[in-house]
Symmetry: C2
Subunit: 612 residues, 2 copies
């Protein structure tokens, strides 16, 4: 039956990783809505039944069986509406190169109780369409788990272009692709370029995705998918999941941002960020009608703010944590953390603890108290000096048999004792007694060079700011204060400082040895650029002169000149941080809590490191 108008119910659903039954019932709810709205077709994201970032869970055949069973149950829901969705496909009689059952990341099209044949070549028929391009970089490990359309085509001795075809649906040709298939610029095989000549005006392209949030991804998405729509001269529906998924070390937000592009590359409709939504998209030839308002957009640090609160909320709920304890030092990191957690959990569930010693100024102590008052959080001052003294005096009374090293705790040793006493002794115990978790408030700058204490401020249940440079933490603090002045001015004004000795007295303007507006850019030059730079690269760049160096890094040349009187000073400084970045800092990163990812390169499983 040909219809002139195709009503598509685009379902931006929250995907719960590892829980096919829950995801199936979410789909059922959307499908019923779609039927009620008289839609012809409901479209769901990639891997919306199993979830996407599951690490080696794919090795459990009983889990894959649960997913296959859920796939089949979609058939029952397809009597009155067609359903296009992403899930895992398993070949029942073939093993992959890892010796386990052969799996695909695939698209399924259920219609009137059956799966449509999506691939048909020379007697080989598949009731699913495998993804063509499997990402294998950053946090993506797809070839570890899945085969793909390229390998399938090779085993059939045929080019991909001969077997990848659009599907006929009610008179329209629909070109179906899965996530990376659209991000084709670096691949020799380009699924959209194969499909586009096979469809024409009035037809449709669809990309089903499960694509994690990074700051500013919307722009890349518009550039890439808008171009695909324009090239084919047809509308393109992009549907992405919401929710949060992780690989242990890194935790990702899936922002949704599903959208519809017109045949001239224009984004004609936007779904909200971080929120489920089903929307009817009516397609009449190349004309697109959506009877709803596009969701309002945020951008820049405001978008990151929203992502972080969403991530905290979703993940603490997953861990069964309703309350958190935060060490509130009066500094900027703990202040921003306190705001984010309060937004996620409610202020009454965020317990702020200030743990002073003789090195802590009234300035920071007052700032911590003001923060708690501004947020209306439970607040406590817990001096740690008695416990430190008890530890040091116990140790000083001890001595080793067969070795005469004295146990005197001074200098850097004494600094680190404070950090560990705060986290591993006080915060961990307070959290344990309250039935809460405690947070790690570290930022990307500290984590880069290990300016933190293991089992001290590196500890906690998650690290919310670990993918933000210190300069971005300030940016976020200012963005927060734009709406309501929650973060005390003192926390913004004082120099960043650990206050672990009198040498770090904030009232005397003394603080961290990191010049954040410069070093953040230097560290990013080393770790965030796609063409990865090493010490050698920053040294050769500097050889080209200060201006070239500062301009490439994005650093204020005056700040650079003021910070380093000679080139030798700048080089010595670079070498020092490079060695820390690859040495002690890496050792600490290995033992850090999961980091909430918001950038295009996050320490952890995204950025994999070997101790060399």
């Amino acid at each position: 039956m040909d219809v002139s108008v195709l009503k598509v119910y685009v379902c931006q659903m929250e995907v719960v990783p590892g829980d096919p039954e829950t995801n199936l019932s979410t789909m059922k709810k959307f499908i019923e809505e779609g039927v009620r709205a008289g839609a012809d077709l409901a479209v769901f994201p990639e891997m919306c039944i199993p979830g996407y970032l599951l690490a080696d869970k794919w090795e459990e055949s009983s889990f894959v069986t649960r997913c296959v069973r859920a796939n089949d149950l979609v058939l029952k829901l397809s009597q009155n509406i067609d359903v296009l969705f992403g899930s895992v496909a398993r070949e029942e009689d073939e093993n992959g190169e890892n010796g386990r059952a052969l799996l695909y990341n695939a698209a399924f099209y259920a219609s009137k109780g059956s799966f449509r044949t999506l691939l048909n070549y020379n007697g080989v028929q598949k009731k699913f369409l495998p993804k063509t391009l499997l990402p294998c970089y950053r946090e993506f490990d797809e070839p570890r788990y899945f085969s793909d359309l390229r390998k399938l085509a090779q085993s059939l001795n045929v080019p991909v272009s001969e077997i990848l075809k659009p599907l006929d649906v009610k008179g329209k040709k629909i070109g179906i692709t899965i996530c990376e298939d659209g991000w084709d610029s670096l691949y020799k095989i380009k699924p959209f370029e194969i499909l586009s000549p096979k469809i024409g005006a009035g037809d449709l392209l669809i990309n089903i995705s499960c694509s994690p949030f990074t700051q500013g991804k919307e722009n890349a998405r518009n550039r890439v998918f808008g171009a695909h729509a324009a090239k084919a001269g047809v509308p393109l529906i992009y549907v992405n999941a919401t929710g949060s998924q992780n690989n242990g070390k890194n935790i990702y937000a899936f922002e949704g941002d599903s959208c519809v592009y017109g045949p001239k590359a224009e984004r004609v409709f936007s779904f909200p960020l971080f929120k489920e939504q089903g929307t009817i998209v009516e397609l009449d030839g190349n004309a697109i009608e959506v009877r709803e308002e596009s969701a309002p957009r945020k951008s820049g640090i405001a978008e990151v703010h929203e992502a972080l609160v969403y991530l905290i909320k979703k993940n603490l709920a997953r861990f069964g944590i309703k309350k958190v304890v935060i060490g509130a030092s009066g500094g900027i990191d703990s202040a921003v953390s306190a705001v984010l957690y309060s937004e996620a959990l409610g202020c009454e569930n965020v317990f702020l603890v200030n743990m002073p010693t003789k090195f802590n100024s009234n300035t920071t102590k007052n700032a911590a108290k003001d923060l708690a008052d501004n947020l209306n959080c439970p607040y406590m001052v817990a001096p740690i000096e008695d416990s430190i003294n008890a530890l040091c005096s116990s140790l000083e009374k001890c001595s080793f048999v067969r070795n005469d090293s004295p146990m005197r705790v001074e200098g850097i040793h004494y600094e680190n004792v404070q950090a560990r006493m705060r986290s591993a002794a006080f915060l961990a115990t307070i959290a344990s007694v309250l039935g809460a978790g405690f947070t790690c408030n570290g930022n990307k700058s500290e984590i880069s060079v290990g300016y933190c204490t293991l089992y001290g401020d590196t500890s906690g249940v998650i690290c919310a700011l670990g993918d933000l440079w210190k300069t971005q933490v300030y940016e976020l603090a200012n963005e927060i204060n734009l709406h309501k002045k929650l973060i005390p001015q003192a926390s913004l004004d004082i120099p960043a400082s650990a206050e672990l000795s009198f040498a770090q007295n904030v009232d005397e303007g003394k603080g961290d040895p990191i010049i954040y507006p410069y070093h953040d850019k230097l560290f990013a030059f080393w770790m965030e650029r796609w063409q990865r730079n090493a010490l050698e690269d920053s040294l050769s760049l500097l050889e080209k002169g200060n201006d070239a160096f500062c301009s490439e890094l994005g650093v204020d040349p005056d700040l650079f000149a003021k910070s380093f009187h000679t080139k030798e000073d700048a080089i010595a400084d670079m070498r020092k941080w490079w060695n820390r970045y690859n040495g002690i800092a890496l050792a600490k990163r290995i033992q850090m809590p999961p980091i909430l990812s918001v950038s295009r390169r996050t320490f952890g499983f995204d950025f994999r490191e070997s101790q060399l």
Copy 2:
């Protein structure tokens, strides 16, 4: 020039990951020895210039440039001897699918100052041979970094079998393969089967490897490579690296175990484990002569013992750590750790600290002291009770504004305080003052189900026993005592116990809630089997009856019957541990120190997990 005898200098070298210059000078030393011995050809392991497990270091183009430069410097050394070695190959004018320069894991053959052409098809010539099969499982991520001969063949539109050919060397045809190319059983393309028909009696097969140690790998190696030799009816030289490499979370030993197989699958010569060695292998037709004795072999837990000491020695040296502090509880884990570290670092560098509270028995306190005396290590008793009391009393004096939860530290909270006080406060501070590292003594059983305290006994610089089940720790203890009775009998005799409360009194036979001889097998059933099992699988197995269940797991049926009076008890127990294994235990594992890998599945980067 044809010669009847080919003298091959087989170089089992230590590869230092990420240090091409050092590796080049190691090669130079071997090459000079080979020249002096009149060898025709020196053969080195896979990736012997860059190292193999480098994580995302491959993304640094300046690092790859250093490797390419070192490759080229081998040419200068090849005037009087040919050199076959493995390294990275970079295509200077082509990018890979990740947008960075296209890299191969490749073999190079240097002869008289030039690289021989190893691939020649239809005008395409390569001065290197790409690896055909790239492993993508466990700790192996090769497709993330490298292209391969399969992809190259596809881009040339030709089957691998047409372009993979033996090399003519002094009248012999040499079939060259790289590591995984030999482990071909699960792949459709089998490099040895392609090469074998192209060579004949008197020719030679070579496999260059960089293959990490796992217990019992020698047997697999004999089965696989012996068969390749027999199938072709020629000798096969297998050369593997020594040294240690890591991916952050897991640390691997490379044991060498290079060897020569005869044309009837027999291993005719064995190199030592964990030791560099160059050996002349003379090949006269199919006859093999080696004028040295094969290295003596160890097996079973003795081999693991050797691997662990090697790993400790290599890695602490890499981290610049000469001394360690070990919390000696009197239990078996810390006792075995103390022996291993003493063997690696010398007893004078292993500082044992017993940290009693009122819950610690004289039995364990004496065992700790006896251990130190047996090993002749520095030893100290550092009571932690005063520090715990100071912490608890500081906390009890505090209260929250806007919340009236009392800060009383009792029960499980008080147990965990002890563990954290020992590690994060005492051991970390003692280690800091001594300029030492402190060790994590956790075992695989505890780590599986999180029977340990984060920032407590999970802490340390490395975790030496983290890949041994508790029952294997006992096995290792007994193996150690076979040679010299270092581990006190009490540590072997008492029940395993944390001694964190009176409920864990060892003198009353009370200890851990884990029945190790049973649970070790259950946890291994879940995490170590290649076809991964889940809770469902153990439940269905149990449905088949106790005998079938115990036999599949390898558990004594009497122990099982004694431990669980009803099937419901056994099921409830399984569920409890399954939930811990996937829940709290995983959260702890994410923050654990690097684990020394000795099994075929190690928690960490080998066994990747998502918090679901």
